[in-house]
């Protein structure tokens, strides 16, 4: 096992645990940034310099946009309902499964650590994505899920080429920007922070200008 890769993998998973469990929005975003910056380094051989630079720029841009959306001391997100130790155990179990099943039945061309980290990130993303009740928490969960899928892709198929890295950087930045815009929009509307509109499964309240011709 490459110790440098193992160190990066550990940092990525720790960042994800922090992102998923912190209640301060900016602390969670900081953890996410660590994860997004570290994920492209989990490849063997290391990605093409241009592609790697693009991934880092994409990760930092996504993190910056979320950071802006998390401005203010009252920017709170849901955090983990079960506490970070439980999240850490879940991530560790998923990483073991990912490492042990490297290649998923066939020889893989990427590092086992990438697949292990990808599984850990995907496992940590499940609760925020499925149970999240605020935009920032769901957005962080989506970033972790996407990061996990991309790491599994690296673990199975090897280091992506430069163009794929550039496209991936665009995807991560787009996701960060989209979540940031929605988080700001929600926060500017009332005092409920990033919370979703409460829904009983019935239709949502209609946006005011969706049907402008209906207004008197």
């Amino acid at each position: 096992m490459n110790p440098a890769l193992a160190g990066v993998a550990l940092a990525v998973v720790l960042g994800a645990i922090f992102a998923g469990s912190a209640r301060s929005a900016r602390a969670a975003i900081l953890g996410l940034i660590v994860t997004m910056v570290g994920a492209p380094l989990l490849a063997d051989p290391v990605a093409h310099p241009f592609g790697l630079a693009a991934r880092l720029v994409g990760a930092i841009l996504a993190g910056y946009l979320l950071w802006v959306a998390g401005r203010g001391p009252d920017a709170r997100t849901g955090g983990s309902h079960v506490g970070w130790p439980t999240d850490a155990f879940v991530a560790a179990a998923a990483a073991v499964v990912g490492y042990g099943s490297h290649g998923l039945g066939a020889p893989a061309t990427g590092p086992a650590l990438a697949q292990a980290t990808g599984f850990a990130l995907a496992a940590l993303a499940v609760v925020p994505v499925v149970m999240g009740r605020d935009i920032m928490r769901i957005g962080i969960g989506l970033s972790l899920l996407l990061g996990g899928a991309l790491l599994v892709r690296t673990g199975l198929g090897g280091t992506p080429d430069a163009l794929e890295e550039v496209l991936t950087a665009g995807l991560m930045a787009t996701l960060g920007g989209a979540v940031a815009i929605m988080a700001v929009a929600a926060r500017n509307d009332g005092t409920a922070g990033y919370d979703l509109v409460s829904s009983s499964g019935r239709r949502s309240r209609r946006a005011l200008d969706a049907r402008p011709s209906e207004r008197p």
Partner: protein, 511 residues
């Protein structure tokens, strides 16, 4: 390369329009100019160019060009209809970004890269859910849409990576290939909002103007569906494995979408939900193509997708026209709409003809062929009847449109369906232009809907060489690293892109 020009133009105008979103008029103007420019760029695109970047290629084709031309035209039409309806959203910018992403998705020769771009393209759509001044309702709908897009994207990324290598030594192949196939097919289903993954799409119809609905739930997902079809035909179908169980799941989703969405559209009281469920129903036909697991489904599926994009966009424009003309979208309150607005009546008739079709129409034949390929015996007959379910909701709308209104619902102004041109006032030309535009909003929307209806009928009839373009192979570079690579026209399984190599296919088939 002409594709690069298209992509750069689309993203550049989208970026500028979004940067100017606090200046409503400037943003809209940039978006509209951008849409005009991408129409020209799409028409001028060379359908046989390729460029290799790293290990991945970008290849243009006749189908890509036609998809972008039609997508740009419907995007322009929907943007005009949207502004006539008074909608203040980022729809032109989102349309441009979606078109740029669709162009890249369809041109990339590597499925792993293509699904990444398709996912990014879907995320641009969340901007339409937001009103310019913010709003928790829009953000809630938007994050749910983002969740559907990202979950679908993660499934597709993992599945294409799983299959994108030498799998000759893989044990338990049917299970593995079945799971990968299921993941990609369900990713497409989620993106289309197919039943039972339709809840987010239904909520989207509440919060998004009907003119933006086809951009989010048709145009973007359609490009992912084309990639999924190519990937399935290249990686799964040639293996001749017994995938009965997972294929049944995909078939169930497809059939449920076709039949139940048709019934759901029939019982809705709001026209935007009728539009939304009609999209889900037509998407079910695309899923039938994925369930067929037969390369024979390739050409009819892509023919159907072209007609699907244009027809549902025309239907959405018609719905916008109804709202502008009658100030409501509640179907029970629309008594006599077809009599009061003949232009909208013509648009509706064109949409109905294109959507349902008749034997001899390319889209109708393509749909019938897909049903035959995916199903046998009585099920095929039942699903064929299900594909005619749009007749029910079109019929309901027509009956209401021809009935006498039982309440005082009138067009926005008497004779609003006709153009009204005041005598030009050269002393105040801007005021004259503004007044003329405001007086003709209903007429403009109706005319746009009728024009898109004509485009829908011609596309469904197989005009613009649609079926021939649809029968062409997916983007493929003949020899990696060869910038002069050309498209092969031989429909041999080994020629399909996204596959994991002929040796792997042979070893798996033997086992």
């Amino acid at each position: 390369m002409s594709l690069v020009v298209f992509v750069v133009v689309a993203f550049a105008f989208a970026g500028v329009a979004l940067a100017l979103r606090s200046h409503e008029r400037a943003s809209f103007l940039v978006g509209m100019v951008g849409l005009l420019v991408v129409v020209v760029s799409a028409v001028a695109m060379d359908p046989a160019q390729s460029v290799v970047i790293g290990g991945t290629g970008l290849v243009t084709s006749a189908y890509l060009r036609l998809f972008l031309v039609l997508g740009s035209l419907v995007g322009l039409g929907l943007a005009i209809a949207g502004v006539a309806a008074g909608i203040r959203r980022d729809a032109p910018a989102v349309t441009l970004a979606t078109l740029g992403a669709a162009a890249l998705t369809l041109a990339l020769t590597d499925a792993r890269s293509a699904v990444i771009v398709a996912t990014a393209g879907g995320l641009f759509g969340v901007l339409v859910t937001l009103v310019p001044s913010g709003g928790r309702v829009g953000a809630t709908v938007g994050i749910r849409e983002a969740r559907a897009v990202v979950v679908a994207g993660a499934m597709a990324i993992a599945a294409t990576a799983w299959m994108g290598r030498d799998l000759g030594q893989l044990p338990a192949q049917p299970v593995v290939f079945g799971l990968a196939y299921l993941a990609v097919a369900l990713a497409v289903a989620i993106r289309f909002g197919a039943i039972p993954f339709h809840l987010w799409a239904a909520r989207l119809a509440d919060a998004v103007p009907e003119t933006a609905l086809p951009i989010l739930t048709v145009l973007g997902p359609a490009s992912l569906a084309v990639v999924a079809l190519a990937w399935t035909d290249a990686s799964i179908a040639p293996l001749s494995l017994d995938l009965g169980a997972v294929r049944t799941v995909v078939l169930a989703v497809a059939v449920a979408s076709i039949v139940l969405a048709g019934l759901a559209a029939l019982v809705q009281d709001d026209i935007e939900h009728v539009v939304g469920y009609s999209i889900v129903g037509d998407a079910g036909v695309v899923l039938l193509a994925l369930a067929a697991l037969d390369p024979e489904a390739w050409a009819p599926a892509r023919t159907w997708i072209l007609a699907f994009v244009v027809t549902r966009s025309a239907f959405a424009a018609w719905a916008a026209g109804i709202r502008v003309a009658f100030w409501t979208g509640r179907i029970p309150d629309l008594g006599g709409w077809a009599i009061r607005s003949p232009v909208l009546g013509i648009a509706f008739a064109l949409v109905a003809v294109a959507g349902v079709g008749f034997p001899g129409l390319a889209a109708f034949d393509a749909r019938a062929q897909l049903v035959d390929l995916a199903l046998d015996g009585p099920f095929a007959a039942i699903v064929t009847l299900g594909t005619l379910a749009p007749l029910l909701y079109y019929g309901r709308l027509l009956v209401i449109g021809l009935s006498r209104s039982d309440r005082a619902v009138r067009p926005a102004a008497a004779g609003a369906w006709k153009p009204r041109i005041l005598r030009p006032d050269m002393t105040a030309p801007r005021a004259w232009l503004r007044t003329t535009w405001n007086d003709n909003r209903a007429f403009s929307t109706a005319v746009v809907a009728a024009m898109l209806g004509v485009l829908a009928v011609t596309t469904a009839a197989g005009a613009f060489d649609g079926p021939a373009a649809a029968a062409g192979l997916p983007p493929r570079v003949e020899a990696p690293g060869d910038p002069a690579a050309t498209l092969s026209q031989t429909p041999d399984a080994a020629d399909w892109p996204y596959s994991f190599g002929a040796s792997t296919q042979r070893s798996i088939s033997r086992s």
